[in-house]
Point group: C2
Chain length 269, copies 2
């Protein structure tokens, strides 16, 4: 039954993979790989399919993120990761924007080559412990003092789970600043169309020959489908059974995990 | 010209006054009275008109707030202050709600008689330095863990000005928690209709015989008009000339300050 209706997968030439909840579960000591996922990544590469990781991770540079994944057994490189901070850097350069950063300490090096003097925009990431009253007021004052406030948000997630409990994600702080300044943030990262398009450009295949695999019904599945891709939802990570009754988004298929997705896709080829 | 069209003021029997921006400007050393306002309060009382202060102040108990006003020369008492925290206490008791408080340290005594064990709602005030990452996550976790999250917000202001700069107000943090929990906060304080109604009950006059005087076009003027009161905007406090082009709210009249409002009203009687 799981194999029925996968004919469209014969056209696939590349896969976009979400990372947290698909390759590994985040938690103490940096996280735990999801069973079968490291082997699935190896099988994708051996098959000749192209692969790109498409993540909203903003608590670390791509380099340190890749080190963590490699230590967990994943054969991936920095060039195979599409993440919001480098995408934001592209946007900042293109528009001559000089950011004030309200981001995690470990993300700051991604912006090393960006001019940050005399800021004319605010870039907001999952700043975690840097989300202090003083830092939020500072970002707010800069925005409200601009003739036309520009707020760039690295994702719009509501919350995420860590081993010590749920944490407010960047989207909640984005909403606070949006309301206070009466401005709409520009979201860089999933589900922004432009972000998926840059991941596809890295992948080197058109949307109709790519499949997105993720655990987030809206940001992964809905976002990819908006770009003309097929999209699968894994039943790992933040997946909840209620996702299968989502009012707007329906994946092209459900799979129990990445390993099953790769099994089925490779059999179509 | 300022006197034209004030015939409706002849029916007035009581005044509701906003405090910050009408009686005084907040700032270093607790604030500075606005010229003529203390004398205006005395003239209101001497005239036989009833008077009630209607404030969204949540950084202090009513008792300490009144001490501060009296030290500035205002002849007011605790019974003449309608404020969000006592209103919230009434609502909590009425509905059997046990709050987790995310409020300013100095406001906590207002909730002394409220059962706060095993919380089944969150009460959010202008917590200022208490708006830490840890405290926001704690309030969020309590809410998201409830079958039906109840978030009570003491006001919904965007920001306010202090001598050391602009500060995010409670409304911004309310929006963050609303988004993260997919819930709508219940606002206690201006512009909630119920809050104005309780101020009118304290005043002891019906809305058509009361005038609200405030500096906030939406929370003071718009809110009072929604309750059937007339409302004046003073050109002090947070008033900005652009308020006079507000897309939805038009005051019954503008006055330069409270002293001018009282001058004109008393001449109608």
């Amino acid at each position: 039954a799981a194999m029925a209706g996968w004919g469209w997968a014969r056209a696939v030439r590349g896969l976009l993979l979400d990372v947290s909840g698909v390759l590994y579960d985040s938690g103490a000591d940096g996280g735990v790989p999801i069973a079968g996922s490291a082997e699935a990544v190896r099988r994708i590469k051996a098959s000749g399919l192209k692969l790109q990781l498409c993540t909203n991770e903003t608590q670390a540079t791509r380099a340190s993120f890749v080190r963590k994944l490699r230590a967990m057994g994943f054969d991936v490189s920095v060039a195979e990761v599409t993440a919001p901070a480098p995408a934001a850097c592209g946007l900042l350069k293109e528009r001559g924007l000089r950011p004030h950063l309200l981001v995690h300490h470990d993300l700051v090096p991604e912006f090393a080559e960006i001019d940050k003097t005399n800021p004319n925009c605010v870039v907001l990431g999952d700043a975690a412990e840097n989300f202090t009253y003083a830092n939020l007021n500072e970002a707010f004052r800069l925005l409200i003092g601009m003739e036309k406030p520009v707020l760039i948000s690295l994702g719009k997630g509501r919350y995420y789970k860590e081993t010590d409990g749920l944490k407010l994600d960047v989207g909640a702080y984005m909403k606070a600043l949006e309301y206070a300044c009466d401005v709409q943030a520009e979201v860089v990262g999933k589900p922004a169309k432009r972000f998926f398009e840059s991941a596809l450009a890295e992948l080197g295949v058109p949307p109709e020959q790519a499949i997105m695999i993720g655990d987030d019904i809206e940001n992964d599945v809905g976002g990819a489908q908006q770009c003309g891709m097929r999209a699968l939802q894994v039943r790992t990570g933040k997946y909840r059974p209620s996702d299968e009754n989502h009012p707007r988004v329906k994946p092209d298929a459900y799979v129990n995990n990445l390993a099953e997705a790769v099994d089925i896709i490779l059999r179509q080829l």
